[in-house]
């Protein structure tokens, strides 16, 4: 095959903006100062074209106004700086088989230009011309910034160079075959070795169960069967830690057993209790339960209007993001898009959320070999979710970043999506899948490759020196978007009856799960479209290659579905059909590669009794750090500058906030749009006024003292936030996302019992809070192995529970922001402040832990929230904000910054220290404003001491001078002006 190479770059005089960005990072990250950096696009056309045809393709790709391009190589000397300097040519392309979405569209463009379909592939790379660095510097830059060896091909050369026509064709000529794995007579040592070497993440007990099963059958399992069991039984898919019985020993040595496991007892337990309460209280009309579909589908579904339900799911994508931040995070967002989309018969994607817990990007300590610097992880994660979300046409609503060096080993990457599900489509309830025996199994979307093999099992173990490169995938949002557009048409025409996404475990999971509904499935992998030849059947079965959904299609709809897919340039392939044989049968042509009993596949995993032992951390009374505090004013400014509290606006503006045209209260608010909103509000459909209200709570640093308090603080803050903005208390729902350090005790993990006890206490706190607030947990996810063992160092995350609240408002025009609105308005503080600086941002800023963590009296809080809801709905509340991380002073700073008004605050609160009064993170508190005329009504709505009047809103001076002033009786605690506040607030991570 003839290969053609094209090089394209910005015309002289047109800015090379990507190169400036690279130069900036070389400077700020690596302290390198190259003379000039220029970038160039490289394209290889592996289509066997004639020269004339290649020239036509080139003309189709090059912008005649802004670019120049040639077949072959552009001269290296273009724009060479004066004076001799070494010129390095650094070319970064992709390894064979790695998704190259640009190349996919180059091929489309080439086919359009030539008017025919082309065999073969295109490949792309970025070429950097760098003047003025040494070879060592260039190689350092390549490793630390320009390429990632897990996905990229790197070529470093001096100019002049030779024409490079080598392309990374994927695949092999190897004939695909099926191996049998000798398990039946294997010793325990051998079983353990087979699991480890095969990246199966199966425990010895599980390997024994499989061995016994096949011994009974009198045959050895195939590689595909063992892989399929490993995926289905993985912690990632089976949630064994949440399903297993737990023996819990409390701090007094008293033991109890949680027989039904954490999920059934606490998560499902809380939700069922909330549902039962609603029935008893007759909150919902008959046949219109608020909870439409929970626990059994890809995402939770709740009732919204007579026309639409709401769907919500938040996922984590931690392990892949540690290896390839860009690709890992992008597959996080496009993957959760598929989850929400693939709920019921399909829902329309509405808005995304994200949240990242990472190492401090300013980290200067030593990093274990094999870990990326947190600033690089941060950049890549943002870029991946930005591209994934923006290219899909989905705005973001919520985002947060939290930094702690315990996230250096594995970053936490939360990605979520709200979707709107029409109550009915094509005459059927949309939330119900209706698979039937005989329905054809159709895979739609992208092709299968080796990418993402072992993703599910890999995420179920700690990150180690032997972590597989194949676990990394890169998303292609446009391929997915085209698939969704096609599926939406198919859904509305009723062309399929069931659907699920191909995520973790690939076809083995998607078809394996769907098979449960009818009692069996049979597929032929030889029919599956692959990216390149040479994939073994087991690889096809478990590949997590992206952008694929699996459909159940009634035979009479098949032709229409395939025709529609073809018209929309979406690949759709019949792989088999649903059966009722009780078996999951997989063929490769004539060969039987997998024949598993469904009961064994789904219910055969042995669940051991796990051991938890609670030992409260020694609660030191040493609060010496409090004596070393500066005046509250400087402390406040220092807090606002900390990465966990700084504005974050500039990063967030890389995300689309506005597409769909439905936003009402945006992610950032205020006169300068730089203050993170308490909660966001969005219309759900055009020409309607109902809205969805979103917020979150996440307090991992409280886990250092008690995870029970941590969980309650997270639920409380999420609820309080959506309440402030205008959500109905009787229409709240929430998602639970657990990220934990390994809670199963072993020789490598000696404190596993303690971590499991932390998990038990977290679940109990969560359960109690959800019952008290009437908040059902409609979906969730757990990621239980967030440890890294590299270079002899073990880094484990602090136990982290993210609670994502979804509220509803009947009229977005009645919603509220945190911004005080009028001079003379009265400022109230709802809820009481206690000396609870444990785990607070103030304590952390002084390298202290603190003693008392915020405790939440959930029953009392709920009484206050109901009263607040009443005055809010009566129109008396004019703005509302939570007190959260950083305490009251930080909330007041947000209000002053947003409104650019002075706030005159007068506090008079008993025995508390100034530090506790201003910076304690006691939960349950809301700062709200009302018109002076409504002051008494607002005061009377709450029973003392639940609410206190703390000040008044000032005006805006003609020449500035607005300030935040906090007095305590006669003493002036804080007196800072807006420019000081803003400088601190926007300065935290500037330039990084």
């Amino acid at each position: 095959m003839t290969v053609h190479r094209l090089e394209i770059e910005a015309r002289s005089g047109v800015d090379d903006a990507p190169a400036h960005e690279i130069a900036r990072r070389l400077e700020t990250w690596l302290q390198q100062s190259p003379r000039v950096v220029r970038t160039r696009k490289v394209v290889w056309l592996d289509f066997d074209l004639s020269e004339r045809e290649a020239a036509r393709v080139l003309a189709a790709l090059v912008d005649p106004v802004a670019e120049v391009g040639v077949l072959g190589m552009l001269p290296d000397e273009i724009d060479m700086p004066a004076g001799a300097a070494p010129l390095w040519i650094v070319t970064v392309g992709f390894l064979p088989g790695v998704t190259d979405a640009v190349a996919t569209n180059v091929k489309r463009a080439a086919e359009d230009a030539l008017g025919r379909t082309l065999p073969g592939s295109a490949y792309t790379a970025t070429l950097h011309r760098i003047w003025g660095l040494s070879e060592t510097q260039v190689r350092h830059a390549a490793d630390e910034l320009l390429h990632n060896r897990l996905i990229h091909r790197l070529h470093v050369a001096r100019s002049p160079r030779r024409l490079d026509l080598e392309v990374p064709r994927g695949g092999t000529d190897r004939a695909p075959g099926v191996q049998r794995i000798p398990l039946c007579r294997a010793s325990d040592t051998e079983l353990t070795r087979i699991s480890k070497d095969g990246m199966l993440a199966l425990s010895l007990a599980e390997m024994r169960a499989i061995s016994t099963h096949f011994s009974t059958l009198g045959r050895e399992p195939t590689d595909a069967e063992l892989e399929c069991l490993a995926q289905t039984w993985s912690e990632h898919c089976k949630h064994k830690i949440f399903a297993s019985p737990i023996r819990y020993v409390d701090e007094h040595g008293a033991a109890s057993v949680i027989e039904r496991g954490l999920f059934q007892t606490y998560i499902r337990g809380a939700t069922e209790a909330v549902a039962e309460r609603r029935r008893v209280d007759q909150v919902d009309p008959i046949d219109a339960d608020f909870l439409v579909s929970v626990f059994h589908d890809n995402a939770g579904v709740v009732r919204f209007t007579e026309r639409d339900h709401l769907v919500y799911k938040v996922e984590t994508h931690n392990s892949p993001s540690a290896l390839d931040p860009y690709g890992g995070a992008m597959t996080g967002i496009v993957g959760v898009n598929r989850d929400s989309y693939g709920t019921g018969l399909g829902a329309d994607l509405l808005t995304n959320v994200w949240g990242y817990c990472m190492g401090d990007p300013r980290y200067v300590g030593r990093l274990p070999a094999g870990l990326m610097h947190p600033r690089r992880i941060r950049d890549g994660v943002h870029a991946g979710v930005v591209d994934g979300g923006n290219h899909s046409g989905i705005p973001y609503s919520r985002g947060f970043e939290l930094f702690d060096d315990r996230y250096l080993g594995k970053p936490l990457v939360y990605c979520g999506t709200v979707a709107v599900m029409p109550v009915e489509v094509a005459g059927f309830a949309t939330h119900v899948k209706r698979p039937a025996v005989g329905d054809k199994i159709v895979m739609v979307g992208g092709r299968i490759g080796k990418d993402g093999i072992h993703g599910a099992t890999f995420s179920s173990v700690e990150l180690g020196d032997d972590s597989p490169a194949q676990a990394v995938q890169i998303g292609d949002p446009i391929t997915q978007r085209m698939m969704f557009d096609m599926l939406a048409e198919a859904r509305d025409r009723g062309l399929y009856t069931s659907m699920t996404d191909n995520g973790a475990g690939g076809l083995s999971s998607s078809v394996g799960e769907m098979a449960e509904a009818t009692g069996g499935a049979r597929i032929d992998l030889a029919a599956a479209p692959v990216k390149y030849p040479g994939l073994a059947p087991w690889e096809i079965l478990i590949s997590e290659a992206q952008e694929r959904m699996t459909l159940g299609v009634p035979a009479h709809c098949l032709d229409a579905l395939l025709a529609l897919a073809a018209r929309r340039e979406v690949e759709a392939t019949v792989l088999g059909e649903f059966t009722d044989t009780g078996r999951f049968e997989v063929l490769y042509g004539d060969e039987r590669v997998c024949d598993l009993d469904l009961t064994f596949l789904h219910a055969g995993v042995p669940l051991p009794v796990l051991s938890a032992r609670w030992k409260p951390p020694s609660c030191s009374d040493d609060e010496a750090w409090i004596d070393s505090l500066r005046d509250p004013g400087p402390e406040l400014l220092a807090l606002l500058e900390r990465p966990n509290l700084t504005s974050g606006e500039q990063r967030a503006r890389s995300y689309d906030h506005e597409v769909k045209g439905l936003s009402v209260i945006k992610p950032f608010v205020g006169r300068r749009n730089d203050v993170p909103s308490t909660a966001t509000v969005m219309r759900v459909r055009h020409r309607r006024n109902e809205g969805v209200v979103l917020a979150e709570g996440v307090h991992p640093f409280y886990s250092d003292i008690d995870t029970h308090a941590m969980a309650q603080a997270a639920v409380d803050e999420a609820v309080r936030r959506v309440l402030c903005a205008g959500a109905r208390l009787d229409r709240l729902s929430a998602l639970d996302n657990f990220c934990w350090p390994d809670p199963v005790v072993s020789s490598q993990n000696p404190d596993g019992e303690h971590k499991l006890a932390q998990l038990v206490r977290c679940c109990r706190g969560l359960d109690e809070a959800c019952r008290a607030y009437g908040v059902p947990l409609i979906s969730g996810k757990d990621s239980m192995k967030n440890d890294a063992d590299l270079d002899g160092v073990r880094i484990s995350i602090p136990p982290t529970l993210l609670i994502s609240a979804m509220g509803q408002t009947p009229d977005v025009r009645r919603t509220l922001s945190l911004e005080p609105r009028s001079v003379g308005d009265t400022i109230f503080l709802l809820g009481s402040t206690a000396n609870e600086l444990g785990g607070s941002e103030l304590a952390r800023s002084h390298d202290a832990r603190g003693a008392c963590v915020p405790r939440t009296d959930v029953e009392r809080c709920m009484v206050r929230y109901r009263a607040f809801e009443a005055i809010r709905d009566a129109g008396q509340v004019r703005s509302a904000h939570v007190v959260g991380r950083g305490g009251l002073a930080v909330s007041l700073a947000h209000m002053a910054l947003a409104s650019e008004r002075s706030l005159w605050i007068q506090l008079d609160s008993g025995e508390l220290s100034d530090a506790a009064l201003l910076f304690s993170e006691s939960t349950g508190r809301i700062v709200f404003t009302c018109a002076a005329a409504d002051r008494d009504t607002c005061q009377r709505a709450f029973t003392a001491p639940g609410v206190a009047e703390i000040g008044t809103v000032g005006g805006r001076g003609a020449r500035g001078g607005e300030r935040l002033q906090v007095q305590r009786r006669e003493r002036l605690l804080i007196d800072v002006d807006l420019p000081q506040l803003r400088q601190a607030f926007s300065g935290g991570l500037r330039g990084l």
Partner: protein, 287 residues
């Protein structure tokens, strides 16, 4: 926003008239602003067809017959991977170029937003200085390239309208605020057209700072576009593209300061973006 509000604001646009107006919204391949764009026209009582490009191309030479306006919407067509709008523009030029040229010759209106604007300039629909009636689409003479500050940026912008511009979409509007969000929005001109574009007032709107003056300063000018140009029209004023998103400001509550505007009794009855669409409909009705 009910129909009473719409009628109150656009009193001249009687539903009896507007329902005769037909607008084509082209969708598919990674375009993604179809819902809000279609809603803008639907609010005005116009008949909107959302047609997937594949279906449109199957209609052949008569694909655009019966339409008064074609909307090129925002999104990431084919991922904008090769360069923004290029692959879609090539496909349109190759398969629908003659129909588009004839459509414009017959007085058809064209409106492009963000990716749609990028597609229009790469198609040669804008500014189309040298094109004569009956000729194929013009060669590309301007482009939209990476923002000076590399990467996607989302923020609202202030826009001043050039009252001397022939653009029919901006008539009667002096000042606009719109959401703006893109990575490739910097207008660059082939040297041969710069002068004529200015002379003919083909830049109907410019990014302005707080004082209302055109600016090159980020973020008021989010991409560094020369002459603070935020959009471009052809000589007829009936073909118009812009980087900001009027379709994302249909409701008063889209504006970041809507609560303050309401407190100060200056909340508009409808989102300001809707006025651009209404002007387009007026131009259809006037011809």
């Amino acid at each position: 926003m009910d129909s009473k509000t719409i009628r109150g604001t656009f009193g001249d646009l009687s539903p009896v008239l507007t329902r005769e107006v037909r607008v084509l919204v082209i969708t598919g391949y990674g375009l993604n602003c179809e819902a809000e764009t279609a809603t803008a026209f639907a609010l005005l009582g116009v008949r909107v067809d959302q047609v997937h490009l594949a279906d449109l191309l199957e209609r052949g030479r008569r694909a655009l017959d019966g339409y008064h306006m074609v909307a090129f919407i925002g999104g990431f067509s084919f991922g904008d991977h090769v360069a923004s709008g290029r692959v879609l523009a090539n496909r349109l030029r190759g398969r629908l170029g003659d129909a588009l040229a004839a459509f414009v010759d017959c007085g058809g209106l064209g409106l492009g937003m963000c990716n749609g604007f990028q597609v229009m300039v790469k198609l040669g629909l804008l500014p189309a200085l040298e094109r004569a009636r009956g000729r194929p689409l013009a060669a590309q003479t301007v482009s939209l390239v990476h923002n000076d500050r590399f990467g996607y940026y989302d923020a609202w912008v202030r826009l001043r309208i050039d009252p001397a511009s022939p653009c029919v979409f901006t008539r009667g509007i002096a000042f606009l605020e719109l959401p703006c969000r893109h990575a490739e929005g910097k207008l660059v001109f082939d040297p041969s057209v710069v002068e004529e574009v200015a002379k003919a007032h083909l830049v109907p709107l410019q990014y302005v700072g707080t004082e209302g003056k055109p600016t090159q300063i980020w973020p008021d000018n989010p991409n560094g576009s020369g002459g603070a140009a935020a959009g471009l029209c052809d000589r007829s004023g009936r073909v118009f593209g812009l980087m900001p998103h009027p379709e994302a400001y249909l409701y008063p509550e889209n504006h970041p300061r809507w609560i303050e505007q309401r407190d100060e009794a200056r909340l508009p009855a409808v989102g300001q973006g809707l006025h651009l669409f209404a002007n387009g409909v007026r131009a259809v009705l006037a011809s």
